[in-house]
Amino acid sequence: MRDEVIRRARGAVAALALAGLVVAPWVVDDYTTAILARTLALALVGVSVALLTGVAGMPTLGQTAPYAAGAYACAVVGSQISDVGVVQLAVAAVAGAVLAALTVPLVVHARGVIVLMITLAIGELAVTVLGRWRSVTGGTDGLAGIAAVRPFWGLPVLANDQDRYLYALVVVTVLVGAVLLLLRTRAGLLLRAGRDDETRLRASGHRVPLYLSGAHIAAGAIAGAAGSLLVVAQQYISPADFGFDTSALLLLGVVIGGTASIGGALVGAALVIAVRDWLFGVLPGHAPLVLGVLFVATVYLLPTGVHRARGRWGLPSEPADQPDASPERDQATVPELHR
């Protein structure tokens, strides 16, 4: 009964939020609309981070790599081959998926903090490549003057901020809906089962690495599509859009949102990005300091951060400092808040 009420309430909140997002461009000014469109793209990357971190149990700091691959693929296709949004989205998603597929062998056997480390290295290396491969990426100057996009063959080009924002909103809604539907199927169940008890799932004959590879590639495709939205929203990209701080901000947003909740990831990532944009506006120069302090404060305030430690504090042997902490513990300390 209570579950039913909560589910209804959550549906109502989601519908209200969507309605608010649809009317937003007529309420706020053009600049804010453009910022909102970019936030939507980043929130979609947040969804892919949540898919890996919370649902599949592979905490990642490297989703900026497929995100960047999608964005640059979209920019190159947009300026040379096609200005049709659907084509660019597909190309960007494929680029993200291909990059994710290439990095599968590096991450699929690792667990816990090692995945964080390897994915971080992958993301940083991707940014290094972007900065140096001048002939394609324009180096650290980035690519500017990307042609306006038309959503579908025969439709007019998206000429103003409102149109671009609504296009991003439609794409994000469709993709998030698809992810939510997919997670309700057997695939979602298997991913969660692999996260909760990998040994048992393996013992019953399931090929967990195969599922994880699938999730990794799917998350790469989503991040790639988000890259295409970034190009549409900003009409300019540079390696600075895909830095290490972006990954960390998205991970923070996903953790705030409850790690395994897709809706929570959307809200959390959007919130964190909005705070960052606001801070850089009001405190030029000191924004990183405040942002860093906010990171630390958030970790202390999170129910999963400190609370668990207090429960464990009294234990004599302090299992805390085990270097070979099992992957189960990693997930056990990040429970799903919004199951």
Binding site: G292, V299, S317, P323, T333
Partner: protein, 298 residues
Amino acid sequence: MMVVAAGSNRIDPYLIPALDGIAYGLLVFVAASGLVFCFGVANILNLAHGMLYAIGGYTAAALFDGGWASLALALTVGVLAAAAAGVLLAGLLAPVAAGNHLSQALLTFGVALAGGSLLVAGFGPDDPQVLVPAALEGSVVVAGHRYAAYRLVFIVVAAVIAAALYLVMRRTRAGMLVRAAVDDPEMVACLGVSPARIRAGVLAAAGALAGAAGVLGAPIIGPGTDTADTVLLLSLVVVVLGGLGSMGGTLLAALAIGEIQTLGVALLPSAAPFLLFAAMAAVLAVRARGLASRWRAA
């Protein structure tokens, strides 16, 4: 005589980049060894490690004026400041649930962000000029080439640091405790050694190593706004390639990275952007099986 000259001519253009690669690699090794400690002993992904290096670099730029006395002062202050930052980090991490890697990573990232901002606020947004000791300012002749004396001395000093590290880990009680804490932390705790103290000590040692690397390596990877990111990235790649926790592997990986960044770029300039990526992929592909079992165990 002619044959020798012809032979040496083919190697000659690459001798200097190769030497540079050794200097670079040893620098990265000293910086990365701190990260190995954090990771192997305390099981922490310390994203603030690059900032610890930057502390050393900025200290060198601020205190060092070319004389030996100021070098000793800069080294002492840089090592102490970075070690203190490591202890501070350990204190901040203490209340966070151990094993909660996400929270730890986010917290250390927050510290890195705030610390980097404070460093820029304290030392200015421009990359400061770094001197080398006046006595080492010239160049020496190596196999018919002029080579910066500082780098040659740096190679020797870094090799001494690496050897000292090895001896400390193998021969002293502290090193034994650290290795024991990697193997079986509960047993070490049962022996009456506080794991929290080991963790603080390890983070302090990691800070000291990063600080020393920052001071001595300032003429090679100088302090600046993106130093922390560069050092963190190179250290991470080295730690991953080195097999996560083994000092010998870390040293080999660091030297390989150094050669790739210098000799590799000289040999294949067009492929330079991808060399690090390709090296990482190649090593991981070759060693995938061994690393996979190690990763699962870790």
